[in-house]
């Protein structure tokens, strides 16, 4: 029994072994057969050498053009595989001339060292040509292969796609692993279904117009990051906006079911996958992975969110742009106003669409130009409406006002919350004289505002700072040198400190105020304050102050003469009002317009007073004259009076009669 088993085992083993051996042998035989036959038929040689040796069963003929080996198969092989010829791993450096095989349909040259495609022009029926893994540097020699459907040129050294003009039936074109930098000359391949351009040096994918049948496009491992939009095929861009548009375009091409883009920089973006999935519902595979319903759904959601976010930031950008343009517009108007350029002259000019410079001497402005500027801008930035001439903005705790029109916002109703936040008020492109008129409103509307900023407000004299005295409170003052010539004066800061000393300013132009500064300010201008208050006649004081002061002063006038009493009373009064000291208050500022009005009044009054005083003088002169005349004439008159009287009463009797007569006459 044991023996029986042993034998059967042996037998089995043997069977196995022979079986395996058979297979191996068969293989080997096959390989060897083919190889040996090839080996017998083909001899490797350099192009320079002439070889015309003969082997067994082979017929090597040397062609007239010396360099190429000629290939011939045996009749049996021809029958076995009549339409296919495989010459891979033959260490070929050139394409051999293939004799008598014009009906060949499949030709395989894989894994050789071929540098040029040659000697296959006669194979007019060729459908499948495989030149994978060679050293081909350019596509050539295939122009006659009109039936070619599959062209495999992967892993070569091709730098440029060319000479594919006649291959209109091409179905698969594999150019992976080359050095191609540009996609071109394939637009005519309307039958092409599969295009493999992986592992090349593409930076832009373009010129895929006309590839109407394309279903598979492999762009892996390139530098692809940009896209050109085409009719049926659109590709990807770095920039977000175009990405969307191009995705949408791709969505139209329903033929695309597989896209492979990984290995490209674009595939690293976070939004890559879900944006693609979201917009290309027809995709079945992305980067060689099937797309599940779950993925699709999630992608949709994510893409929508992304869209939202981008839309929001786009809107923000637009708003910022609009704001910037508004401010530019206001600046321009300010410039014109400052330079007083006549609009009349400019209206006669041609209205061209030149952009105007913000340069006072050059710019002419008229309403039309702002509109034309608008059209330029609106085409560049969507959604931009008419540019405003003033701008009011709240940024954090700062209220920014641009342009004179912005001052009206102080009349608006501000919510207590917003108003309470405002700490800084910034004025730009507004005349200081106009700002002065609304300063009192700041107290009521924005009680917490303690910092004033002025830029391009035409502060030219120290006098103007007097107007700030009427504020309720300032802790910080910033006067930008731009548009405020006053800053160029040596003494401006000291004057501000002096005039506004009741505010106890903390900072001027960002620089902390030191005790020395305050002392210096007082030292420089203290006497001015003294003179302005103590040497001014009372009635002048009254006229220079407002209503609220008059009571104080009436009180003061009554108490004139009491020294210490005045001091303490007034200081307590002042503390109640929280106002400025009277010594400074006489230093006031009237805007030009007010001043002009006052001067007009003064002129009128002056003429009146002149005539009035003239009349007075005349009267006085008359009276004086009369007086003098009287003085002159009086002695004479007196003497005559006396003489007449004496003559009259010389005769007592007749005088008595005369008197009686007079009395009776009177009675009658």
């Amino acid at each position: 029994k044991n023996m029986g088993k042993y034998y059967s085992l042996c037998y089995l083993h043997l069977k196995l072994v022979t079986f395996v051996l058979n297979i191996v042998l068969q293989f080997e035989f096959r390989i060897n057969k083919e190889q040996s036959s090839f080996h017998n038929r083909l001899l490797q040689h350099d192009l320079e050498k002439n070889y015309s040796g003969r082997q067994d069963n082979t017929n090597f003929g040397s062609s007239s053009s010396i360099s190429f080996p000629v290939l011939q198969r045996t009749a049996e092989e021809k029958i076995l595989s009549s339409d296919r010829l495989t010459l891979e791993r033959q260490k070929l450096t050139v394409c051999p001339v293939i004799d008598g095989e014009d009906h060949l349909r499949l030709l395989n040259f894989q894994h050789n060292f071929i540098t040029r495609i040659q000697n296959i022009s006669n194979l007019q029926h060729l459908v499948f040509l495989d030149l994978y893994d060679n050293q081909i540097e350019e596509i050539s020699g295939v122009s006659t292969l009109r039936s070619l459907r599959v062209l495999l040129l992967g892993k070569n050294r091709i730098k440029k796609i060319s000479n594919l003009e006649n291959l209109k039936n091409l179905d698969v074109l594999d150019l992976h692993g080359n050095q191609i930098t540009k996609i071109e000359n394939i637009g005519h391949l309307s039958e092409l279904r599969v295009l493999n351009l992986a592992r090349n040096l593409l930076t832009i994918v373009e010129n895929l117009n006309g590839l109407d049948s394309l279903t598979e496009l492999n762009l892996r491992h390139n530098q692809v990051s940009a896209i050109v939009r085409k009719k049926t095929l659109c590709l990807f861009i770095f920039d977000f906006f175009s990405f969307f548009e191009d995705i949408l375009c791709l969505a139209d091409s329903s033929s695309l079911s597989d896209i492979t883009l990984d290995g490209n920089p674009i595939a690293q973006e976070t939004w890559y996958k879900h944006t693609v999935l979201h917009h290309m519902m027809q995709l079945r595979q992305l980067d060689m992975k099937r797309i599940t319903e779950e993925e699709r759904r999630m992608a949709s959601v994510a893409a929508r969110k992304e869209e939202e976010r981008k839309r929001e930031s786009h809107k923000q950008t637009l708003l910022k742009e609009k704001k910037r343009l508004t401010i530019c517009n206001i600046a321009r108007q300010w410039e014109i106003q400052q330079n007083r350029i006549a609009l009349v002259a400019s209206l006669n000019q041609d209205k061209d669409n030149e952009p105007c410079q913000i340069n006072g001497s050059d710019s002419y402005v008229f309403p039309e130009e702002s509109r034309s500027l608008n059209t330029i801008l609106s085409s560049a930035v969507q959604g931009l409406s008419v540019l405003e001439s003033h701008l009011v903005e709240v940024e954090g705790d700062t209220l920014c006002l641009y342009g004179a029109g912005a001052l009206e916002c102080l009349d608006r109703n501000w919510s207590v919350q917003t108003a309470g936040i405002i700490v800084t008020v910034s004025f730009t492109f507004i005349e200081f004289d106009e700002i002065v008129q609304v300063l009192t409103k700041l107290k009521t509307k924005f009680p917490n505002s303690v910092h004033l900023k002025f830029k391009e407000t035409n502060l030219v004299t120290l006098q103007q700072f007097n107007a700030l005295g009427q504020m309720h409170r300032i802790e910080q003052l910033t006067v930008d040198p731009q548009g405020n010539p006053v800053v160029s004066f040596t003494l401006w800061k000291y004057y501000v400190l002096f005039r506004l000393n009741h505010f106890n300013l903390q900072k001027i132009n960002g620089v902390k105020v030191t005790e020395n500064d305050i002392v210096m300010a007082e030292r420089l201008f203290g006497i001015l304050a003294y003179v302005a208050s103590s040497e001014l006649p009372h009635y002048r004081m009254l006229s220079l102050f407002g209503e609220s002061r008059r009571k104080q002063f009436h009180y003061l006038l009554e108490g004139k003469g009491k020294k210490s009493g005045i001091g303490s009373e007034e200081s307590s009064d002042n503390r109640r009002n929280g106002g400025e000291s009277t010594t400074r208050a006489t230093l006031s500022y009237t805007t030009k317009d007010f001043h002009m009005e006052k001067l007009e009044e003064i002129k009128e009054r002056k003429t009146f007073c002149q005539t009035y005083v003239e009349n007075l003088v005349k009267e006085a002169a008359d009276i004086n004259m009369k007086n003098e005349s009287l003085q002159k004439l009086w002695p004479q008159m007196f003497i005559e009076l006396v003489r007449d009287a004496v003559i009259e009463i010389r005769n007592k009797n007749s005088y008595m009669k005369l008197c009686l007569q007079r009395i009776t006459d009177q009675k009658q």
Partner: protein
């Protein structure tokens, strides 16, 4: 008088409360003291020589400290200071004054307080005179001798008439003596204030030829004329004013005392106590009136009369 009435009308509500008589007292007191021009419009400030002198004096008193501090300022900045006292003071006058200091050159240059002040005094006080002088100078340069037109008061002028054109370049100026004669006749016939001729003569005697701005500069620097004017102290004493300095020290002490205690104290602080210990501190310097009279006695020359104004 007219102005007093005008002021009365302007402030009638307030004045009616404390009496017209008091108003007039105060008004003329302030005129006497030279404080009536404070914060008044320019047309009033320049109306009479007395007003002008008062203004100059007030400017000196108020901004002496700026000069004392040593800061050099531009014409613009001086103009600002002027505007603090007179809001509508015209820039031209300041510019003209600056031109005198800078000899019509580099108008953006910095000037010292004393230079500016004395030049400004001449320009402001003798504005009309200077205009006439400028015209005379131009005429002399061009060769026309104004003396030929007007009968000169001094007999020596008749011998000096020149028919031939002056062929010297403007840089050389004009001949001093000829120039002086024209000035003399101008002074005699002018109804505006002019510097005393004797002083001018003295000033010109040292020079052979002079330019216009050279002449003005000399005028500005001449202390005799300054004293004759009577508004400003001598150059050497320009920064002296002991009474005001005393007041200033009090003010500064108050301020520095405050700032030591901290800026967060209530705003209506003792710094707001006005310096009204007495209603008026008499200025240490006698009223303009007297001073001029004194000078008149010492100089013995014809002073400008202010009765011709107004």
């Amino acid at each position: 008088m007219e102005d007093a009435v005008s002021q009365l009308l302007e402030n009638r509500e307030d004045i009616s409360q404390y009496g017209i008589a008091r108003f007039f007292t105060e008004y003329f007191n302030s005129v006497r003291q030279g404080t009536h021009i404070l914060f008044r419009e320019f047309s009033f400030v320049q109306a009479t020589p007395h007003n002008r002198a008062s203004f100059l004096r007030t400017f000196w008193r108020c901004f002496r400290t700026v000069g004392k501090n040593g800061d050099l300022l531009t014409a613009q900045e001086y103009h600002c200071l002027l505007q603090l006292l007179c809001p509508d003071f015209p820039m031209e006058l300041t510019q003209k004054a600056a031109r005198i200091v800078l000899m019509d050159d580099a108008m953006d240059c910095l000037m010292s307080f004393s230079d500016f002040l004395f030049a400004f005094q001449i320009q402001f006080y003798y504005s009309e005179f200077l205009e006439s002088v400028a015209a005379i100078y131009q005429d002399l340069l061009a060769g026309k001798n104004p003396n030929t037109v007007i009968v000169p008061t001094s007999s020596s002028g008749q011998h000096r008439q020149r028919q031939s054109p002056n062929d010297c370049s403007p840089l050389d100026g004009v001949e001093a003596s000829l120039f002086y004669q024209c000035l003399e006749s101008l002074c005699d016939r002018s109804k505006y204030s002019c510097p005393p001729s004797a002083l001018v003569k003295e000033m010109l005697s040292s020079a052979q030829r002079l330019t216009f701005y050279g002449f003005l500069m000399a005028l500005a620097k001449d202390q005799g004329i300054n004293r004759a004017l009577g508004a400003l102290p001598d150059k050497g004493d320009l920064f002296l004013d002991p009474a005001m300095d005393q007041e200033l020290e009090k003010l500064v002490a108050r301020v520095s005392g405050l700032s030591v205690s901290g800026p967060t104290s209530s705003s209506g602080d003792s710094s707001n106590v006005p310096v009204r210990n007495s209603p008026r501190i008499n200025s240490p310097w006698k009223p303009l009136h007297h001073r001029r009279k004194m000078d008149a006695e010492s100089e013995g020359s014809n002073e400008e009369t202010d009765s011709s104004e107004n």
